[in-house]
Symmetry: C2
Subunit: 335 residues, 2 copies
DNA sequence: TTAAAACTTTGAACTGCTTTCATCTTGTTT
DNA sequence: AAACAAGATGAAAGCAGTTCAAAGTTTTAA
């Protein structure tokens, strides 16, 4: 039905091998035949069938990305970076979401690995099984971990410890002492996760300012939504009346909930309560009051991840690459 | 390198054809051989190479989605629907963003069509060329248009006219007469675009309530962001001091800008100014005041689009399908 | 007991492209 | 004019599957 390399060959009066060589810019082809063949290619609007090509080359020209959901702020911004970077390349992006369903992660990874669905694999804030990682290594399929760390894999993350530290330090410098912190799930004492790292940075800052750590000023949340923010502030206030600051390490979006709840209760920000967010969303500059926040360029993370993925897919990376992007404190009016 | 169907066949002591049949659950295979082969498949962790399979079947098991960007609210919510629906299916999702660059749209579509990269194509709020649409039709690649309308393609949209009408009607019923409307770009008088449809619905409501249409109460915006909302309200007020309502047909997000600007100017919502948004974002329920808005379930749009895409890919849809989802007025406190 | 029917299994052909190797042209040199 | 090198082309094999027709096996009927 559709145009194949043979159709081009016939019309150009050469063999299909020659056409293939033209496409691959083989030096053996004379400029004349090259021009002739290329003319036919454009005339017939010939595009190589990527399935056939992939099959014979053992390549897919595809980068697979796995995330829990792609419809959240974090993933969205990450994808923006991927988009920006992949625009110029020949690679396609394939998305797989686990939707937090048990077993799906394994299923996806097996499919990609054994079914040869991608040339590189990016795991977005999901920790793969150790055995699976080993399987990837064995089969030579590069794997790039975002906001997770594992030996043998390329790792790309933001410095969450530093982010937590910067936020708390800023508040402490302003003389605040009762600083509530809102974080994602800590899963016990598991180290290396971003909520834990941010909490640790916060604790380190307290130490430096000789302020005691108060367990009641830590609020773990789950959904990262607006409501979480509102509830967290309420919770803090019900336990500790002297609260004078909130560091919402769970993200700006959740932080908007904190602002809203404060407004509702007649608490003035930043006079009565200083608030610092985490993310540096575009919107956080225009809410009321403009949010002081830790900016981490997830978009840049995406761009870097894509670059690494391509290099890894082409075998340019022998050693696992570890990149840590530095967050930045953006001072606005909320603190 | 990796396990092929032949490895399975050899180990199971059957021909590779038999293995293929087992995989496809062919009734001709006896339960005995089936069980035997399946055991080997799991043992060897065999997964069919989807490139080879796609090549021979002329199928890719992929749905391509094209949008300007995927990192906006609309696209994100649409993808959420796709995600929900595609979870159970065997299909993969491929995203292509045009980034508004000239020529990219055509390039993407050609690649998908002639390079056989997908079994169905979803265009998200982008109008393809007429010739290109015809090419798709010729080659039997189904095309699903979201929020756009073209003859011969499957079409899926929300009833923007109705939405515009409902919003304006609600405000008029409350006695408001000077209703500013904020819409996306109208591109002259081009019909069928969602901003235009919403405006028309608004005008129809005015007519029914015998209120004259005032050109100065229409504000076209471009970026759909927070600032657009702030600027629009300022613009209205500079022209028309008696403004008593704003219908932000450009979306809730922009509408938050309107609320913010009103707050800054000391204008009480809804007492001095009634405000109605458009989208029904999750967040709009929790801002201050909770936003009265037109809810359109973009997520549902995504789900439906995926279903149609699959059906179309499998040749189950002879006639172009046209679905219009009804928006809904959510009455909260802002109007 | 044997032929026919019914059911399983298998070999071969095919999908569209790349790549290696052998062949066929050239053009150059002697 | 013959010999040779170098460059251009083409034939064939292979990638990993599916599918159809044919072969093999078992069951049924005569």
């Amino acid at each position: 039905m559709s145009i194949t390399i043979k159709d081009v060959a016939k019309k150009a009066g050469v063999s299909h091998t020659t056409v293939s060589m033209v496409i691959h810019d083989d030096k053996r082809i004379t400029p004349d035949t090259k021009k002739k063949v290329q003319a036919v290619i454009t005339e017939l609007k010939y595009h190589p069938n990527y399935l056939a090509r992939g099959l014979v080359q053992g390549k897919t020209n595809t980068i697979a990305i796995m995330a829990t959901y792609f419809s959240n702020n974090f993933e969205m911004n990450f994808l923006k970076g991927i988009e920006q970077q992949s625009g110029e390349s020949e690679y396609q992006i394939n998305q797989y979401s686990t939707r937090n369903k048990p077993g799906v992660k394994e299923q996806i990874m097996e499919q990609i690995l054994y079914g040869k669905r991608a040339d590189a694999f990016i795991s977005l804030a999901i920790k793969p099984d150790k055995n699976m990682l080993e399987e990837f290594r064995k089969n030579g399929l590069p794997i790039i971990l975002i906001e997770e760390e594992m030996k043998g894999a390329h790792t790309l993350k933001t410095d969450n410890y530093k982010g937590g530290f910067l936020a708390a330090e800023h508040l402490l410098k302003k003389g605040r002492k009762k600083i509530g912190i809102i974080v994602g799930e800590l899963n016990g004492d598991e180290v290396g996760t971003s909520p834990m790292e941010r909490l640790k940075g916060y604790q380190r800052a307290l130490e430096e300012f000789n302020v005691d750590f108060d367990k009641d000023l830590v609020c773990e949340i789950k959904d990262f939504d607006f409501k979480d923010g509102k509830n967290s502030l309420s919770k803090f206030l019900s336990v500790n009346k002297k609260l004078d600051a909130v560091f919402c390490a769970a993200g700006d979006y959740t932080c908007f909930g904190v602002l809203e709840e404060a407004r509702k209760r007649g608490i003035k920000v930043p006079q009565d309560l200083s608030v610092v967010g985490y993310d540096g969303l575009e919107m956080s500059a225009v809410v009321s009051p403009p949010l002081t926040t830790i900016k981490q360029s997830i978009t840049e993370l995406g761009r870097e991840a894509f670059k690494i993925a391509i290099d890894a897919a082409n075998g340019k990376l022998k050693e696992p690459k570890n990149i840590i992007l530095q967050p930045e404190l953006i001072i606005r009016e909320s603190a």
